[in-house]
């Protein structure tokens, strides 16, 4: 009997072996070379804008590895894990273990550059999904989500590189048997970085001795009803950043640890009970209703209306508008605002390749999607000022980018309309846009000292090709700068895009894009001496060729001609005119072979900035980016 028990006991100690068929693996290796004719070192053109990091820079080569594991635990249970190495180690680092053994000292020990240069493997994302035997509940997900089930006006979608950072509970289901009524419910951990005053849920706030962020959550619900001609969608969210009530005698750093006031008198009702009370530091709520209906195959009407509420507790959070040079992702007061967007698509109604898009937008001056999409989403049809997207938030993410990636801009306060004509025929495509914008943020004597953040550098057309966070290069307006002390502004935008594919050799595309912006801001009504007039002309032409199977070459040139009257200055010292000439010549290579993907971009940037009353500036920049990627 004993002999029989031994093998059984041994078997019992052997862990259960998972079947390999229950696993789905996906690997990725990515290497980037970044070079520029400057003396910075790092792997990322634009890194963290607020704190010094030792990863961003224009010269370096580094590699990252990613492994995704999908598990099928059972019919109704799935699991997912993504591990990834930290990106930032230069090949020249040779060896770094993540220590900073001699802070502030240069050394070659391999223990000096910190975790940014250590390529450590980190758990980046995970979830468990299961389909419970509960009527009306389809899936419950516990763990990571990119929050793509909501919309850019409320919550998410999180940018791709952060797609697994958001963690929470997510319930997806339906009501009734038809499946027409669906719902999504979510409880999401608030990111301690970015959702709240000071871009945090407490950490770094001068008013807080003991930032308490472990019970900060967002709550969101989406109801969707599919009609025979489209969908009706209601989304609502709440974010609540709570902190310990500092009047509670049990709180660390309590104002009244002995339940006595400053004069030593007992405080009525105050007593220690070994429990702390909480209070809200920052609360927000955004709600949208969207009707997306296509009564005809060629006609789609998309109507959206929303409200946004913002409530900082001025006792629990310091005033970043006043104390942080006007840099704040929120308006420092209680606000309630609105947004309306009406969009009409007429998709080739005459079957001749001619389509139309029309949009009316009216976004309130105090709207802010604090937990909404920060980039890689777009809420308006217009091409806008920059080449990127428009988002209704002060919380834009124009960081962790390379020079070849576009910037997003805030459309808070925009009120106007867009008309776009698209034409497609054969190998030719063309698009013509006209947009007029006036601003709900127009006004006189707006309080940008204590209430409305102006983001410090708020004048002039933004140069995103030669951007820098601290504005040491006079690069123009911060894309988040929607509030000004005095503004009376309106803008006209015209865009023409055209492309033709020639059926010669392996085929090549010839493309053109031209954009003209007329931007007028009367600024203060007390004088005409500060009136701004911007005439901005940007053009791009390019030629793309399929050289051989898998090899694509693109040659192009971009020209910028900007005439800006009274771009920069003050009423006291006067304003200065700027004229900018910019030219970027570039070529791109893309090569795909047997699963390997190579890309190369080279740019030569020349810019002359003629500044009235100041020294002119000249930029002569050579830069390149190459990537090599394999997925398996």
């Amino acid at each position: 009997m004993k002999k029989a028990l031994i093998p059984l006991l041994l078997l019992a100690t052997v862990p259960a072996m998972a079947k390999i068929t229950n696993f789905d693996f996906a690997g990725r290796l990515y290497t980037k070379w970044l070079y520029r004719n400057d003396d910075s070192q790092g792997l990322l053109t634009y890194g963290n804008p607020f704190w010094p990091d030792n990863m961003a820079g224009d010269n370096g080569v580094g590699t990252e590895f990613e492994l995704k594991i999908f598990g099928r635990v059972s019919k109704y249970v799935q699991a997912y894990v993504r591990v990834k190495s930290r990106f930032g180690e230069l090949w020249q680092d040779w060896w770094e273990n993540g220590d900073m053994k001699y802070p502030g000292q240069v050394n070659t020990s391999g223990e000096s550059m910190g975790m940014n240069h250590a390529s450590y493997i980190k758990l980046r994302g995970f979830y468990v999904r299961f389909a419970p035997p509960i009527p009306g509940v389809d899936w419950i997900t516990v763990g990571s989500s990119d929050l793509g089930m909501f919309n850019a006006w409320t919550i998410g979608k999180v940018r791709f590189i952060d797609r697994d950072n958001g963690k929470g509970w997510f319930i997806d289901g339906h009501i009734g048997h038809s499946g027409a009524f669906q719902y999504n419910l979510a409880i999401i951990a608030l990111p301690k970085l970015y959702v709240g005053p000071w871009w945090s849920t407490g950490i770094g706030d001068p008013n807080l001795d003991n930032p308490f962020y472990s019970q900060d959550w967002a709550y969101a619900a989406k109801l969707n009803y599919d009609t025979p001609i489209g969908s009706l969608t209601l989304i609502s969210d709440v974010t609540n950043d709570i902190e310990v009530d500092m009047t509670d005698p049990d709180a660390v750093g309590s104002l009244y640890p002995d339940c006595k006031d400053a004069l030593g008198h007992p405080i009525p009702g105050c007593s220690k009970d070994h429990a702390v009370d909480y209070t809200s530091r920052y609360f927000s709520s955004n709600t949208t209703f969207e009707a997306n209906l296509s009564p005809l195959d060629w006609l789609t009407n998309d109507f959206l209306v929303g409200m946004a509420y913002n409530r900082p507790n001025t006792q629990e959070t310091a005033n970043a508008v006043a104390d942080n040079q006007g840099m704040s992702p929120i308006v420092y007061k209680k606000t309630l605002s609105y947004a309306v967007r009406e969009r009409l698509y007429l998709d080739d109604p005459f079957d001749v390749g001619l389509s139309f898009k029309f949009e009316y937008f009216n976004i309130g001056a105090n709207w802010n999607s604090i937990f909404g999409a920060r980039r890689e989403s777009d809420v308006l049809l217009t091409d806008g000022f920059l080449d990127g997207d428009q988002l209704p938030t002060l919380n834009l993410a124009n960081e962790f980018l390379d020079f070849d990636e576009s910037f997003v801009e805030s459309c808070i306060g925009w009120h106007g309309g867009t008309a776009i004509l698209d034409y497609d025929y054969d190998a030719f495509t063309m698009s013509l846009e006209g947009t007029f914008i006036t601003y709900n943020t127009n006004g006189q004597n707006r309080d940008v000292d204590k209430t409305y953040p102006d983001f410090l550098h708020s004048n002039g057309y933004t140069d995103t090709d030669l951007f820098d966070y601290a504005d040491v290069t006079d690069r123009g307006r911060d894309p988040r700068s929607v509030y000004h002390r005095n503004q009376d502004r309106r803008t006209w935008i015209s865009v023409l895009k055209a492309k033709y594919t020639f059926d010669v050799l392996n085929g090549f595309d010839l493309g053109f894009k031209g954009k003209f912006i007329y931007d007028k801001d009367f600024r203060s009504h007390k004088t005409a001496a500060d009136d701004y007039t911007g005439r901005i002309l940007n053009m791009k032409s390019w030629l793309t060729m399929n050289v051989t199977d898998g090899l694509v070459l693109e040659l192009g040139d971009k020209v910028g001609l900007w005439w800006e009257a009274n771009r920069e200055g003050t009423l006291q010292q006067g304003y200065h005119d700027y004229t900018t000439h910019k030219n970027i010549t570039y070529f791109k290579l893309g090569y795909q072979y047997e699963g390997i993907s190579l890309a190369y971009l080279f740019e030569w940037v020349r810019k002359k900035q003629y500044r009235q009353g100041m020294d002119d500036q000249y930029f002569n920049v050579l830069r390149s980016k190459a990537t090599l990627e394999v997925n398996w």
């Binding site: 999904r129 195959d297 998709d347 190998a427 090899l551 694509v552 072979y593």
Partner: protein, 272 residues
């Protein structure tokens, strides 16, 4: 100058109007379930109707042939295809198989579909309407379907507008002007940028749906990885729903073995 503009404009539109429609097939709404059991991946980018074929047109315009595939919803680009050299949409991947010669051609579908064609409906050419750029497509074909390369047609232009995917193809690449007597089959799949090592940019159908996997099929390769097709008479009638489900019905044994389904072609001139 103004007059010249209007003349050019009219000439351009009239050129478009002059395109001759050779084929116009319809497909019923709501049959984007493969053999009737398939469900979409659970990620919210896969909106209802995104893989539901509604209409297929072939037009001739000079030396070009224009393919138009209409689906049941507006086509979106949630993965920003322009940033990876794509064609302005992300999710759909349509393969148009053409039987231009009787009793000849390839009888297997492209890798990743797990389908064959009926012996009397094999294909001579297949047109790929994909969001991927030409370089990626050529690389994938070289890697996974090299023997079929000369019969795989990559359009000179592919684009999306509203609910319609459009592909412009050289007539010479098809071996002549398309005819109503030819057979056509339009297969709706989903573009997978990180495909399995044997799949030509197709998204897998598994037994249960995942965030980016269709469900309702099999975890093995005995099920057709196809969401929607056209079936005779291709007028969009409700009877075609069941005909499609029947055409795509698959049988897998416990070990995941089973015969590949055989797809029919639609011959427009045989439609009564």
């Amino acid at each position: 100058m103004k007059r010249l503009f209007w003349v050019l404009l009219i000439l351009t539109f009239s050129a478009n109007l002059s395109a001759r429609t050779i084929v116009d097939l319809k497909d019923p709404k709501g049959d984007d379930k493969g053999p009737g059991t398939y469900v979409y991946p659970t990620d919210p980018v896969y909106k209802p109707g995104s893989f539901d074929l509604r209409e297929f047109k072939v037009k001739q315009s000079g030396s070009k042939v224009i393919f138009k595939v209409k689906i049941a919803t507006r086509i979106t680009d949630p993965w920003d295809s322009k940033s990876w050299g794509g064609n302005g949409f992300s999710l759909q991947f349509v393969q148009v198989y053409i039987d231009s010669k009787p009793k000849s051609g390839h009888c297997n579908g492209l890798p990743g579909l797990n389908v064959k064609f009926k012996p009397d409906s094999c294909w001579e050419k297949v047109v790929l309407i994909s969001p991927q750029g030409k370089a990626r497509l050529m690389s994938e074909i070289d890697q996974k379907a090299k023997t079929l390369k000369k019969d795989i047609v990559i359009p000179i232009r592919t684009r999306a507008n509203g609910m319609v995917l459009t592909a412009v193809v050289k007539k010479s690449d098809l071996g002549g002007t398309p005819k109503a007597s030819w057979g056509y089959q339009v297969i709706m799949q989903s573009n997978e940028g990180y495909p399995d090592s044997h799949d030509l940019l197709t998204r897998k159908v598994n037994e249960y749906p995942g965030k980016h996997r269709f469900g309702g099929g099999s975890d093995y390769d005995c099920d057709p990885q196809v969401l929607d097709i056209f079936v005779q008479p291709a007028k969009g009638g409700k009877d075609e729903v069941q005909a499609q489900y029947k055409a795509l019905k698959f049988h897998c044994d416990a070990k995941g073995h089973g015969p590949l389904v055989e797809l029919p072609m639609v011959y427009p001139d045989k439609i009564k």
